[in-house]
């Protein structure tokens, strides 16, 4: 009898899983279920080029290889629950779908600030609809308040400046992109943003949003609501009392795993889905996870299970997870090789190409400039016990393969 694999989540991880299952010779049925209404598309442009020009699916859609032409896409309907022992998923419309194998690829959603205040004018950026809604408000040059100084916050700030908006960035850290880059490089990037006109108010959080709260009809700031459109945010009061006036607020304060549909199956869902090194969810047969939601140990480093929200990870994990699943389903041999991907990340801000290889955060105590200088093109090395564990480069494309090769050279111990 023909087997069926269900892929939960129809984005990059889900697409790559389908491709790898077909490449591995699986000829049974593949059903990919996604709560978004679109076929898989690429998210990084949503804070960069697409946000700067036009947010449409055609511009960011992934190409579909002929090999996945017969995948069934059930779009616009979330999976509500799963019974893993019975191997059944239940969709929000009541449909139940039995499967022989299940791929968890439900990714993340943006964390929202619990801060009270009006809802209109407050944005996040994860989906095409999010980016389109933000794009529609980024003209003609409103005042933009970005909350969060991570990569997505800084990219949105750069794009909003490009569109001529006055931009303020508020975040609790003292330096933008502190965790992934370290203090010196983060400070150097702050200088570049400031040179482009971005104002940073760091070491602060948002106390409350200003503007009339349409749910109560009461002005949240105590002033007459005359100047504000009903229910629209007009700024924020920060933890130190500073008032920032703004027409558009973007919350870029991290993300939460989409795993509620797996509740009730006895899994550790405290931070994504816990996987073994072969991407099997807690070692269970015929159940794998890929992409942002997969928490897996990487023997290239310390073997601690972590989620990695890098664009390279859906592709890498899908490759390995497909082999595990096909082995469990009896279509392939088990692969004993350790899975040790080299995490790869990039960011574009004002035409600066920032590239990260390896695990800089694990080498945060020993950061050295290896080449160039922090305010120009630069290579920064992150070391653990004297060994290079991560590299971040700005520019210098001709040097990429040299540093990447050096990071790959370290032996992988299991």
């Amino acid at each position: 009898m023909s087997q069926r694999i269900v892929i939960a989540g129809a984005s990059m991880g889900g697409l790559r899983a389908a491709e790898r299952l077909r490449a591995g010779g699986f000829t049974g049925e593949i059903v990919a279920i996604g709560d978004e209404t679109h076929l898989p598309y690429n998210r990084p442009p949503l804070s960069k080029e697409a946000l700067a020009s036009e947010v449409v699916h055609e511009a960011v859609a992934f190409r579909l290889r002929p090999a996945v032409a017969d995948v069934t896409w059930r779009l616009g309907v979330p999976i509500a629950a799963a019974d893993l022992a019975a191997r059944v998923v239940r969709l929000a419309d009541g449909t139940e779908l039995a499967c022989d194998g299940l791929v968890v690829a439900t990714g993340m959603r943006p964390r929202r600030l619990p801060t009270p205040g009006p809802a209109a004018g407050r944005h996040v950026v994860r989906t095409l609809e999010d980016a389109a809604a933000l794009r529609a408000e980024l003209r003609p040059g409103p005042r933009v308040l970005v909350i969060g100084a991570g990569f997505i916050g800084c990219e949105v700030a750069a794009t909003a400046r490009l569109l001529g908006c006055p931009v303020t960035v508020v975040a609790p850290e003292a330096v933008p992109m502190l965790r992934p880059l370290g203090a010196d490089l983060g400070a150097a990037l702050r200088r570049r943003h400031e040179a482009e006109g971005v104002r940073f108010l760091l070491g602060r959080t948002v106390g409350r949003f200003l503007g009339e709260d349409h749910r109560t009809g009461v002005p949240a700031d105590g002033d007459a609501p005359a100047a504000t459109e009903a229910g629209r945010v007009s700024g924020a009061e920060l933890s130190d009392g500073t008032v920032v006036e703004a027409d558009v607020v973007v919350e870029a304060v991290g993300s939460t795993s989409n795993t509620e549909w797996l509740d009730g199956n006895g899994l550790d869902l405290s931070d994504g889905v816990l996987c073994d090194n072969a991407l099997r969810v807690e070692g269970r047969s015929c159940l794998v996870a890929v992409g942002d939601v997969a928490r897996f140990p990487n023997p290239r480093y310390d073997g601690v299970a972590r989620r990695v929200e890098h664009w390279s990870i859906p592709t890498d994990t899908a490759k390995r997870a497909a082999v595990s699943l096909l082995a469990d389903l009896g279509h392939a041999a088990h692969d004993p090789a350790p899975f040790a991907p080299l995490p790869t990340f990039w960011s574009d801000q004002y035409g600066l190409r920032i590239q990260s290889f390896g695990a800089p955060a694990l080498g945060a105590d020993d950061i050295r400039v290896l080449e160039g200088d922090l305010d120009g093109e630069v290579v920064v090395g992150y070391h653990d016990g004297g060994a290079l564990v991560g590299v971040v480069m700005i520019g210098l494309p001709a040097a990429v393969s040299r540093y990447r090769a050096e990071l790959m050279r370290a032996p992988v111990t299991v």
């Binding site: 390279s312 790869t344 190409r353 210098l396 494309p397 001709a398 990429v400 393969s401």
Partner: protein, 62 residues
């Protein structure tokens, strides 16, 4: 198999180079150079290069 890279979109990340070094290279001046025709035996590598390009600038035809 024909390979087209939209050089207006390409930002010389060099990711494609790691998947298919026979076809894609970064020159000493830091720009992408590539072969516009590749042998069928390189199809998997070239398809992978197109997949991993951060800008999705690579098109494979035929």
């Amino acid at each position: 198999m024909k390979i087209i890279v939209d050089m207006d979109v390409c930002k010389d990340h060099g990711q494609c180079v790691f998947s298919a070094p026979e076809v894609f290279q970064i020159s000493d001046s830091g720009r992408l150079v590539y072969e516009s025709e590749a042998d069928e035996s390189l199809r998997d590598a070239v398809e992978e290069a197109a997949d991993v390009c951060p800008l999705q600038a690579i098109t494979v035809e035929g």
